[in-house]
Amino acid sequence: MSTYVAFHGGTLVLRDVAEEERPPRPFRFVKGRWRCEAYHYGSILPYLQEEAIHNGVPRWKPLNLVMQDTREAHDYQLEALAAWDKAGRRGSIVLPTGAGKTFVALQAILRVNRSTVVIVPTIDLLHQWYARLMNAFACEVGFYYGSEKKIFSQGESGAFQIIPLTVTTYHSAGDLIAEHGNAFKLLICDEVHHLPAKTWGEAALMAPAPFRLGLTATYPEEQEQTGERWRLDELIGPIVYTQQLESLVGKQLAEYRTQRVRVDLTTEERVSYESLHKSYLGFVRERGLQRTHGAGWLRELMRLSTVDPIARRALLARRQLLNLLESCQGKFAALEVLLREHAGERILVFTESNAVAYAIARQYLVPVISHETGVVERKRILDAFQAGHYRVVVTSKVLNEGIDVPEAKVAIILGGGASKREYLQRLGRILRKKEPLQAVLIEVLVRNTIEEGKVQRRQVPREKR
């Protein structure tokens, strides 16, 4: 029988190579066979050829894409690509935010012209990449995350094949790669600085893709990589290009102003608020949870709520209190006034919860984007919003990281629950603009409630970025 190397669940396995034959590192003799992590594929190719071992690993295909995006590459983008080519198409490119990392990746895909998988940290980014890839190549793009998985398409012969251009999240990538890792020759890791984290690197470890591209604005320092399971250089390759063009940042950011609208609770709402507040924060203070458990105090409250009836009531009060603040009459009235006031403009409405986002969508008949919204519908909604077909889009927490909605000029945030990071990201959403139009961020808060305290604590500086 002839010797053979196969891809198996993220590993490379030599078949019919006896224990005595001792193939080179990184192979290890485990459970009766010589095996290694699939990311070594590129480096063991010479060995396979020398020993004439039949290579059953690659299942990737030519892409034959045509670039529909007519934008020309900047010089620094071309330099970055040339450096990556020269390094054997392995390694990371470090560019500041807003410098067109996605564009660089599109060009890299075009050059390699073989099946590619893109891994991104968040579902928002997944949607964004999906849209960019569709727009750039006008071809089918696969997606694989949480509840939505579409990675097969029916070929002309009727057989199902892996879509050779697929986007996934770090969270789901492991399963995709374990099963179909050998279907991709180029692996692109967006925000590659996440990779050293405990489970996030597993996908890159299990992928045989010989070509790898990491993208980030902030490459982790050496010390940030130690103590983690794997090092970026090993999984992706070294940094091949760095550009810290400060001038790039800011150029694309528009002027903005923030505005706060304060509303009151009705008398009835106020009565319930005070009683819920007492039950909830009264308990937390009395037990000194914040003092004893620091940032983990809420988890401790949850733990207590499974054994202590008072803690349980405090936790319920917390939920009811947040519901009350989010759906109080004053907020809806203020929202309605704002929607009428900005009648001519594109408006994004942010809510804290799904329930309120859907309630607004139903009441005002405007599209909603939540984590339940599928890739295809989401792109259609955002495209229609950009085109002016929709004037208002309401969204729960999901639109949080780096999605471009350049036409949005007004953002309305219902509720002061957002953390500093979320707040900045929402700001960024309306700031990434084409024209120097003034954008407005309007926050609707309930007066004399915990919402005002949260806003105080946040203290976002007014500088850009």
Binding site: H8, K31, G32, R35, D308, R313, E336, Y364, L365, Y390
Partner: protein, 426 residues
């Protein structure tokens, strides 16, 4: 399976030992809760998932047992079917049509001349629906608005509590990196599920008979204590419960104790599997062969005893489990294995032939259906015996071959009935 937040509060850690706080299936108070939820669920037949979830919240009230109540509710839901309402067009298309008019208000103004009701009515008309109907199906594709169409199996409080306990045990394995099991029966089902859940195994003969099996996944040797396969291990657990005598040791890294804990279970636990044990026989052919043997050779008519699938031939990363073992009454070390190769798909047959060659097993007898496109050469170089048959194996011929094989391998059969005799053979 339960979500991890319904598992975590029920894990107890003492030193390096992990325990799962299970419920007493006989406790009348818990039985009552189970009964209430079963009735509540039945009453929600035809209603939306959101309505059911709301009802569970209301039932929970300020009860501190909410983790338990939600767990039961989840078990009920998982075994049931929720389906979307039928709509004349996909709901996303309906929304596109309706939202083209938004935002709308109760009081129209110069920019917003139509009210919500007018928009709904206008779009609904084109679809021959009423405004109310359109309103109802606008988000028919959200899980929350799916309707409960089939409430699943008929639960009793006891079966529901038992299943909840099983799900808790499974849940502990969400954080498992690998498990080690010892078993002495029901191999066929075990292997079937190990393969189904794409686990990797390494099996060795155990000390007291049976086998010791390590279970993890392909990447496990390279990523120490990866939790990648936790879900698969959890899914697999009920297969282990199908065995008669077994024990399991799981290496679990729950968030409360990331350093690692041991979770042990064995056949004395009261958990029951909901997986079906496969039937005695895989095919009619096997069944007929076994019954003919019993008729003609069973009881005291012969000196061979037939045992089903008792032997595992370990072949590296796969196994072969011959259909029958014939054991000599006088000397149990005299054993002939029989594998029936019936009407199989060619690929399956090729794998089977490869396995036979790999097993290189002299006391294996293959009974091969002649209609198969397989010739004697296929088995050349293997140590096993082959008999071809046309309609069914001829028992007489089979037994003659068995005797001949036994004589060849084990030497002449000892004449005397069994006693504490000196072993004449190695």
């Amino acid at each position: 399976m339960l979500t991890s937040e319904l598992i975590r509060p029920r894990l107890r850690i003492q030193g390096s030992i992990l325990r799962v706080e299970m419920v007493n299936e006989q406790d009348p108070a818990l039985q009552q809760i189970a009964q209430d939820l079963i009735c509540l669920f039945q009453r929600h037949q035809g209603q939306s998932q959101a309505a059911w979830e709301e009802a569970v919240r209301a039932y929970e009230g300020a009860n501190v047992d909410y983790v338990f109540i939600r767990g039961l509710a989840k078990v009920l839901m998982d075994a049931a079917t929720f389906k979307p309402l039928t709509t004349p067009l996909p709901p996303a298309t309906l929304r596109e049509q309706v939202f083209a008019y938004g935002p709308v208000f109760e009081q129209p103004d110069i920019f917003h001349t139509a009210t919500r009701q007018e928009v709904l009515r206008e779009v609904a008309e084109t679809l021959e629906l009423s405004a109310g109907e359109l309103d109802e199906i606008l988000f028919a594709d959200r899980g929350a608005s799916y309707r409960l169409t089939d409430a699943g199996p008929t639960w009793t409080p006891s079966t529901l509590l038992a299943r909840y306990n099983l799900e808790l045990a499974r849940g502990a394995l969400y954080w498992a990196s690998h498990i080690t099991i010892g078993v002495a029966s029901n191999y066929k089902d075990l292997w079937k599920y190990i393969k189904l859940f794409k686990l990797m195994f390494w099996a060795e003969p155990g000390q007291n008979g049976g086998y010791r099996i390590d279970l993890d996944g392909p990447i496990s040797p390279f990523v120490s204590s990866t939790l990648r396969y936790g879900r698969q291990l959890a899914a697999f657990l009920p297969a282990l419960l199908l065995c008669e005598r077994w024990h399991m040791q799981a290496y679990v890294h729950p968030p409360q104790a990331p350093g690692g804990t041991l979770y042990r279970l064995d056949h004395t636990c009261s958990l029951r599997s909901h997986f079906k044990s496969s039937g005695m026989f895989d095919s009619r052919l096997e069944e007929d062969f076994a019954s003919e043997f019993e008729q003609k050779m069973g009881e005291k008519r012969g000196h061979w005893r037939m045992i089903r699938e008792s032997e595992v031939l370990l072949l590296g990363d796969t196994v072969m489990i011959p259909d029958f073992a014939l054991v000599d009454d006088v000397d149990e070390t005299r054993k002939i294995l029989i594998e029936l190769v019936g009407f199989w798909h060619p690929t399956y047959l090729r794998r089977k032939v490869e396995k036979v060659r790999a097993a290189n097993c002299a006391h294996l007898l293959l009974l091969v259906y002649q209609g198969l496109n397989v010739t004697e050469e296929a088995f050349e170089g293997s140590a096993s015996e082959v008999i071809f048959f046309q309609n069914k194996p001829v028992l007489k011929e089979v037994m003659e071959t068995v005797e001949a094989m036994a004589n060849r391998i084990y030497g002449p059969r000892p004449k005397r009935r069994r006693k504490k005799k000196t072993k004449s053979l190695e």
